[in-house]
């Protein structure tokens, strides 16, 4: 009780806990805890044999945070920036530091553009995007979609219904627009 000086009495003694729980108290001594203290100076420990790593070749202008002094010696090379999304990304990196909301909001916007650039491009390939297989939603039928959501109280049911709208909505809209455009074209041809 916080209104008086002493800690509440223990529910179970150390002996009881030791008997019930494997390893209880094995790391009671902070010396046995690997991340205590937080910083431990030991540059040799890691197995590195350099003071500063060799530099990985930069094969295209690699976008980077303006809070960095230079391009880091090692970096990832997957999916270089391309198209409109790439232009937005490069602009965001060049212009805004990580401290600016604009930096992150532009990157999020670029992500949405990137997805639609790829969806549209995929229709010109032998493997167009398929929202049914790519969302894995068919597992609802094989992995107990209904039973998993009934019988107990789950707090996420109040918003799960939004997912199909967010994911499927733009596809239905795009499909509708495509059909309308095709009809229009057909009618124009007839006249």
């Amino acid at each position: 009780m916080p209104y008086t000086a002493h800690k509440p009495p223990r529910v179970r003694s150390n002996e009881e806990l030791r008997a019930a729980i494997p390893g209880w108290g094995a790391d009671l001594d902070p010396k046995d805890r690997p991340s205590v203290p937080k910083e431990q100076f030991d540059p040799e420990f890691s197995g590195a044999h350099w003071e500063f790593p060799e530099r990985q070749p930069e094969k295209w202008p690699r976008e980077r945070s303006i809070e960095h002094k230079f391009l880091t010696p090692v970096f990832g090379t997957t999916t270089p920036p391309k198209g409109l999304s790439g232009a937005i990304r490069k602009y965001s990196y060049k212009k805004y530091s990580e401290g600016r909301a604009a930096h992150w909001l532009l990157l999020l916007a670029a992500d949405r553009v990137d997805a639609w650039e790829h969806h549209l491009a995929s229709f010109a390939t032998l493997r167009p995007d398929n929202p049914i297989t790519e969302t894995g939603v068919l597992s609802e039928f094989t992995r107990h979609g209904i039973a998993s959501r009934t019988g107990t109280k789950r707090a996420d049911l109040n918003h799960q219904w939004i997912d199909p709208i967010i994911v499927g909505g733009p596809w239905i809209l795009a499909g509708g627009l495509a059909i309308a455009a095709a009809r229009r074209l057909a009618r124009l041809r007839q006249t």
């Binding site: 916080p2 179970r12 150390n14 806990l17 019930a20 390893g23 108290g25 790391d27 009671l28 805890r33 690997p34 991340s35 205590v36 910083e39 431990q40 100076f41 030991d42 540059p43 420990f45 890691s46 197995g47 590195a48 500063f52 790593p53 060799e54 990985q56 980077r64 391009l71 880091t72 010696p73 090692v74 990832g76 999916t79 999304s85 990580e98 992150w104 992500d111 949405r112 997805a115 639609w116 790829h118 969806h119 995007d129 398929n130 297989t133 969302t135 894995g136 939603v137 068919l138 609802e140 992995r143 979609g145 107990t152 109280k153 789950r154 707090a155 996420d156 799960q160 939004i162 994911v167």
Partner: protein, 382 residues
């Protein structure tokens, strides 16, 4: 090779990609034998993490066999079985030199506020991940560790993130003998945090979630008392009652950016991306810890702002501690605990999904179907 590829929010598929080449003399190429899907991957999958590009391969929990090494690699050779920490780190920068491997400054050009992580967007360095047949592993002399002969693959893959993160989360709590510890979240990280709290001498461990099947695991696997927050009008008051109105000495947030429990907070974060993460669990942690207590945050949040209750944290004189887990630092002690039988990480594995079916694996884990706690991914090459 076959690899999982992101196609936009909630959409992924398996594609044919080139086997990654060596790009730096200290690189290794690893053939993946087991990977896993992490709660963190869900933040990417839902499109919450800025600069997540279509075409990227996710996956930061994986083990495998060394296929090829760069010219300066000394500590590994082809054929070695390795477990690879989710952090990419150089070993010698200001931060690595002090053991802060998750905060390396030499591996992520895209951001200075976060280190390098496999398959975790360009904001974490733009590296492809291990939910594929092969993966490029930078700083092969520094990151990967040899898997001891006695250690099973499914235990090893959990040593690359989930177990060390839970163990680290308990350390951040600075638990002293007899402390009452509350863990928010009964996912893999929360379950391991609860289990680790006992190792550090907790007197009581309480786990909170809204998924009954996970709370059941918290009782059997982590020996915890449990509460389903969806059953209570106000879980914070319940926690005060449970601690004779003192509050807990230590609270661990093992939920992160997609916390449930408040429609607006969840929807503005997870669905509409107006804040970097739903701070419900974090705010509950701040409110249910005692004054002067410690809140440990291992749940992950994005780089934008979130509406965190900072005033309460300040008025209560709290210590807030947090980080991405420096995985490799945890290994020697965790291997001892596994050997001594204190921990059996693979007890939480519920699903083993062939790489070709990974889209369904993500849906099952994301929608919490089929009593899923930890899904492993099995690449087709084996």
């Amino acid at each position: 090779m076959r690899a999982m590829v992101y196609r936009g929010p909630y959409k992924i598929r398996v594609e044919e990609k080139d086997i990654p080449p060596i790009e730096h003399p200290n690189d290794a190429i690893v053939r993946v034998t087991r990977a896993a899907i992490c709660g963190s991957d869900l933040h990417l999958y839902h499109g919450m993490m800025p600069d997540t590009r279509v075409g990227m391969t996710f996956g930061h929990e994986f083990i495998g066999v060394v296929e090829q090494v760069g010219s300066s690699v000394r500590n590994l050779k082809p054929g070695d079985r390795v477990m690879v920490p989710f952090n990419i780190f150089c070993g010698t920068c200001y931060f690595c030199a002090r053991g802060l491997y998750s905060n390396c400054h030499n591996v992520n050009p895209n951001a200075t506020a976060v280190g390098g992580i496999y398959g975790y967007s360009h904001t974490c360095g733009g590296y492809d991940g291990g939910q594929s047949e092969y993966v490029r592993v930078p700083f092969a002399d520094v990151g990967p560790g040899l898997i001891p002969d006695w250690l099973e693959d499914e235990d090893a893959v959990l040593l690359t993130d989930a177990l060390p993160t839970g163990y680290f989360g308990a350390q951040l709590g600075s638990i002293v003998e007899g402390d009452t510890v509350i863990v928010f979240g009964a996912g893999p990280v929360g379950l391991f945090a609860a289990k680790s709290s006992w190792l550090m001498g907790a007197g009581r461990v309480i786990v909170i979630d809204h998924l009954e099947y996970r709370l059941e695991k918290a009782r059997t696997f982590a020996h915890a008392e449990t509460y389903n927050f969806a059953e209570y009008d106000d879980i914070v008051v319940e926690m005060k009652k449970a601690t004779d109105f003192l509050g807990a000495d230590v609270v661990i947030d093992a939920v992160g950016a997609e916390a449930d429990g408040n429609f607006l907070q969840h929807v503005t974060s997870s669905k509409f991306k107006l804040q970097a993460g739903s701070p419900i669990a974090l705010n509950w942690a701040i409110d249910s810890v005692r004054k002067g207590g410690t809140v440990s945050v291992v749940g992950a949040y994005g780089p934008l702002f979130s509406s965190v209750k900072f005033g309460d944290a300040m008025n209560k004189g709290l210590t807030l501690r947090m980080n991405q887990c420096p995985v490799k630092r945890q290994w020697p002690r965790l291997l001892e605990h596994i050997r001594n039988g204190h921990l059996k990480p693979s007890d939480i594995v519920t699903h083993r999904i062939p790489l070709e079916h990974i889209a369904e694996g993500y849906h099952i884990f994301s929608a919490k179907l089929d009593n899923c706690i930890k899904p492993l991914v099995i690449p087709s090459a084996n």
